[in-house]
């Protein structure tokens, strides 16, 4: 069996850490996700933080916004790597799905995360 994917949440401020805490509180899974904040980083420093978080393991990068420094650093890092993929617009629903489906290839896991995240965005009647 191949190594399970590592999820790395890349965010502004403390969003990533808060999401990791929420996933652990809901699922009890505490070893699937790593938070990375862009606080105090230029692009190079954030790239270094991401490289450290990923190591040489296959990974899916969950980025908060579909633009900006978190995205640019993540895409630069993933460029040319088949074992690293990126999905943007991270939300709790996609992370909850991810921690139980970490055995997928990175690109497939990214598509699945995007679908799971999108399904959670609704406008329920009050």
């Amino acid at each position: 069996m191949s190594e399970p994917l590592r999820g790395v949440i890349v965010s502004h401020s403390a969003v990533a850490q808060a999401l990791v805490s929420a996933v652990a509180a809901i699922t009890g899974v505490s070893d699937a996700l790593i938070p990375v904040s862009n606080d105090g980083c230029d692009g190079g420093a954030l790239g270094a933080r991401l490289a450290t978080a990923i190591g040489d393991r296959p990974a899916l990068l969950f980025v908060d916004l579909p633009g900006g420094s978190c995205l640019t650093s993540s895409v630069r890092l993933a460029r040319g790597k088949t074992n690293v993929a990126v999905v943007t617009g991270v939300n709790l629903a996609m992370l909850l799905d991810f921690v139980f489906h970490r055995d997928l290839p990175p690109a497939e896991a990214a598509r699945r995360a995007a679908e799971a995240g999108a399904r959670a965005i609704r406008t329920p009647a009050a």
Binding site: D42, A45, P66, G67, L71, R79
Partner: protein
């Protein structure tokens, strides 16, 4: 309108620029001045992803920007000029009357020390800013519009 914000920010186009400044200023275009980004279509696509479609993004080398600044200053839309380094912004100021420069984000690198939470400078970079100020350019540090503008003398 014209160029309402000349900003030094090593993250170039990111949330603070597009949302923090771009929304209240109602920016119509952003000029990203960076020789490396200008030479890479791939990097340009990456930066475009963070910008809504109603804002035009122009990628320029330092030399191109120095040449086209009068054209952008005359544009009826509101514009933002971004440079990732003090040297790049200084080059733009060499032949043009730039009234104000916003230092929006220069982060930690070897040789730099912390001046503000979001501004790290080497001694030579601080001197570069002082030289620009000596030419009559108002230089302040301010990451987002709602934060106080910090005068140059308080962070160099």
């Amino acid at each position: 309108m014209s160029i309402v914000l000349y900003r030094i920010d090593d993250r170039l186009i990111h949330g603070q620029v597009v949302v923090g400044w771009g929304q209240p200023l109602r920016a119509g275009f952003i000029v990203l001045v960076d020789d490396m980004v200008r030479a890479s279509e791939w990097e340009q696509d990456l930066y475009r992803m963070g910008v809504p479609s109603h804002i035009e993004v122009v990628f320029a080398s330092t030399a191109e920007a120095a040449q086209r600044l009068p054209e952008w200053e005359a544009d009826p839309r509101t514009g933002i000029v971004l440079a990732g380094t003090i040297s790049t912004m200084a080059a733009l100021c060499a032949d043009h009357r730039v009234k104000r420069i916003n230092v929006g984000g220069l982060h930690h690198q070897p040789g730099r020390s912390e001046r503000l939470r979001y501004v790290y400078l080497s001694d030579s970079e601080a001197e570069q800013l002082r030289q620009l100020a000596a030419r009559g350019i108002e230089i302040t540090a301010q990451d987002v519009p709602t934060a106080p503008a910090v005068p140059l003398t308080e962070f160099t």
